[in-house]
């Protein structure tokens, strides 16, 4: 691992810091922020799907919980952004942990259905409790993020905030994955029965993975709420949950770079295809089919192959 060429990685890190400055168009900065939020959720979902091998098609709902909770805390209790952010993501994580504890006894299509059902239930509950969430009209006038005395008022400063959260998540996930907990996740993904036979409490670790992944989804939701200052229940639907899963799978499950590349690809691709007007979504679907049939293990595996070829030639 140590001899690995670190140059592309360093260049990538450098790029993230200058990217918001390089983008001239304000609209493109907005897309960049959206992409950053998707990356955060994808990183979290990857912890569950990529590393632990469990499925969730309901992560949009956990984003919604994080976002609405954070918005409610700062509107009604006047909590500062940092406190609302931490509190809402931790509460979302605990909620996810409790749900995972009950739900992760099922597998495959049954788990898929339960997470779809949970996602829909949470969304419908948000729509139908207007006194707390604003109902179908959405929650408005959520204060913009600030840390102590610094106000994140410009779009570029918000982009840097989102980048900072991505790095926090990457650090957090790397720490987990290099610990005993991370190795337990991988063991469960490879063979659950064998892992159980080795003395790993599979249910406990699966639940933990679900909790951590929903905690990160909650962080993304909270960030979304404060950056955009409005929340509408309609966006946190099943399509969004499927899109999160698509990002993880297209990028490459079980790596850190994979979900990032997947999110960038799936946010930028429709923008590039916009010129095709009515053929946009048709081409998008076909591209997805091609990706899955020719590089089923993700864009990441594709790049890795190219990189190792390059190195061998040298």
């Amino acid at each position: 691992m140590k001899e690995k060429n670190r140059l592309p990685l360093l260049l990538g890190i450098l790029l993230t810091f200058i990217a918001p400055l390089l983008i001239r168009n304000e609209y493109h900065v907005e897309i960049f922020i959206q992409m950053c939020i998707f990356i955060i959720v994808a990183l979290g979902l990857n912890l569950l799907t990529g590393y632990t091998g469990q499925l969730s098609i309901g992560h949009a709902a956990f984003c919604a919980i994080g976002g609405y909770l954070s918005g409610w805390l700062s509107i009604h209790l006047h909590l500062p952004f940092l406190a609302a952010f931490v509190l809402s993501s931790v509460v979302t994580g605990i909620f996810g942990y409790l749900i995972g504890f009950v739900v992760l006894t099922t597998k495959g299509p049954y788990l898929a259905m339960i997470t779809i059902g949970l996602g829909e239930i949470i969304r419908l509950l948000i729509v139908n409790t207007p006194s707390i969430t604003g109902g179908p009209m959405g929650m408005t006038r959520i204060p913009a993020p600030n840390i102590f005395f610094f106000q994140f008022s410009t779009t570029r400063s918000k982009a840097y905030l989102a980048i900072a959260v991505i790095y926090l998540c990457i650090f957090f996930i790397r720490r987990i994955m290099s610990s005993k907990v991370g190795r337990a996740f991988l063991a469960i993904r490879e063979n659950e029965d064998a892992a159980a036979a080795m003395g790993i409490n599979t249910h406990l670790y699966k639940t933990l993975s679900f909790g951590l992944s929903t905690l990160i989804a909650g962080m993304a939701g909270s960030l979304y709420a404060h950056i955009y200052t409005v929340l509408s229940p309609e966006i946190f639907n099943l399509d969004l949950s499927i899109q999160f899963l698509t990002m993880v799978v297209v990028g490459g499950m079980g790596t850190i770079i994979g979900p990032i590349i997947g999110s960038i690809f799936l946010v930028i691709l429709p923008e590039f295809l916009r010129g095709l007007a009515k053929y946009q979504m048709l081409i998008y679907g076909v591209m997805l089919m091609l990706c899955m049939s020719f590089i089923p293990y993700g864009l990441m595996s594709f790049f890795e192959k190219g990189l190792s070829k390059l190195q061998r030639r040298r």
Binding site: T49, L55, V102, V103, T105, T106, K107, G108, P109, Y110, A112, M113, I114, I116, G117, L118, E120, I121, L124, L125, V127, N128, L238, I242, L245, T246, V249, V250, M253, K278, Y279, M281, L282, Y284, G285, V286, M287, L288, M289, C291, M292, S293, P296
Partner: protein, 288 residues
């Protein structure tokens, strides 16, 4: 009071039989090919659109109905042959995302062909209720239930009483072993794919007069069908039927007691509770 309940049971059985058809498609494809096909909802939508197109050519309803079924079965087979066969041994998540892409492609192809406005599917069986001992019986509902029932009986006879059907069930149970026993797995795959497509399109044509026919019509119904398949348990024809009818009944009985906003919440809650008590659905067996 009793009339309302009977009324809701009749409506529930009609909607439930549509769910059951879609659940059969999900169940057959998942247990037979080990495939999560998220594009199935689009087969339903394409079926409704092809049906409308054929009816606009002034074909009589039964002929248009049969032609649509054949057309979609062939379409399903060709899609399987050209694309899904490549993913036969890939993990579930990957086939899932691949079929999501397939669904997006089919849906947008349909928008290019038929436009975004959609069309109204003519009702053939009469939407007007006929009073009968204080209960309004809508002929359309009786026809829906009848057609679905006839189809399911045929499917049962095919799967459980014919040679090919027995081979299909064997291949669905243990693919490799069935292949070693001299069963042509490619044939059984094709049969399973076609049954999936047929069930979806029959469901689509039966549901089309109730819903407005447009590119997104498949989403909600197909999701309900998936829920029904999970509720009944995969790998079992009766599971899918019971799951579908039960879901239709729950929805329609619940609607007379609680507001319609909470309807879907109740339906999903029931499914989640059932799965937590029996993680493989009502009639399903745990696959290890």
């Amino acid at each position: 009071m009793i009339e309302t309940i009977i009324q809701q049971i009749i409506n529930g059985l009609a909607v439930g039989s549509i769910y059951a058809l879609i659940a059969i498609a999900w169940s057959m494809i998942f247990s037979g090919l080990d495939l999560f096909n998220f594009a199935l909802s689009e087969y339903l939508m394409i079926g409704a659109f092809v049906g409308i197109t054929l009816l606009n050519l002034h074909l009589p309803f039964p002929i248009a109905f049969l032609l649509t079924i054949v057309a979609i079965a062939i379409m399903a087979y060709l899609i399987d042959l050209s694309f899904l066969r490549r993913l036969r041994h890939a993990p579930h998540v990957i086939t899932m995302i691949a079929t999501v892409g397939l669904g997006v492609a089919i849906k947008n192809a349909a928008i290019l062909i038929w436009g975004t406005e959609g069309a109204h599917f003519p009702s053939f069986f009469g939407e007007k209720g006929i009073p009968f001992h204080g209960v309004y019986i809508v002929p359309q509902n009786i026809w829906i239930f009848g057609i679905a029932l006839v189809y399911m009986v045929f499917l049962y006879l095919f799967l459980y009483k014919s040679g090919l059907g027995t081979r299909v069930r064997a291949a669905a149970q243990l693919r490799v072993t069935a292949g070693l026993m001299g069963i042509n797995v490619k044939t059984t795959d094709a049969v399973i794919t076609m049954i999936g497509g047929m069930s979806m399109v029959i469901g689509g044509i039966l549901v089309a007069p109730i819903y407005y026919t447009e590119a997104n019509m498949g989403n909600v119904v197909a999701l309900k069908g998936f829920a029904a398949a999970v509720l009944g348990g995969f790998g079992n024809l009766f599971g899918a039927m019971i799951g579908g009818l039960l879901l239709g009944l729950i929805e329609n009985l619940a609607v007379s007691y609680i507001s319609s906003q909470y309807l879907n919440i109740i339906a999903y809650l029931v499914i989640i509770v059932v799965l937590l008590l029996k993680p493989s659905g009502l009639l399903g067996k745990m696959k290890r």
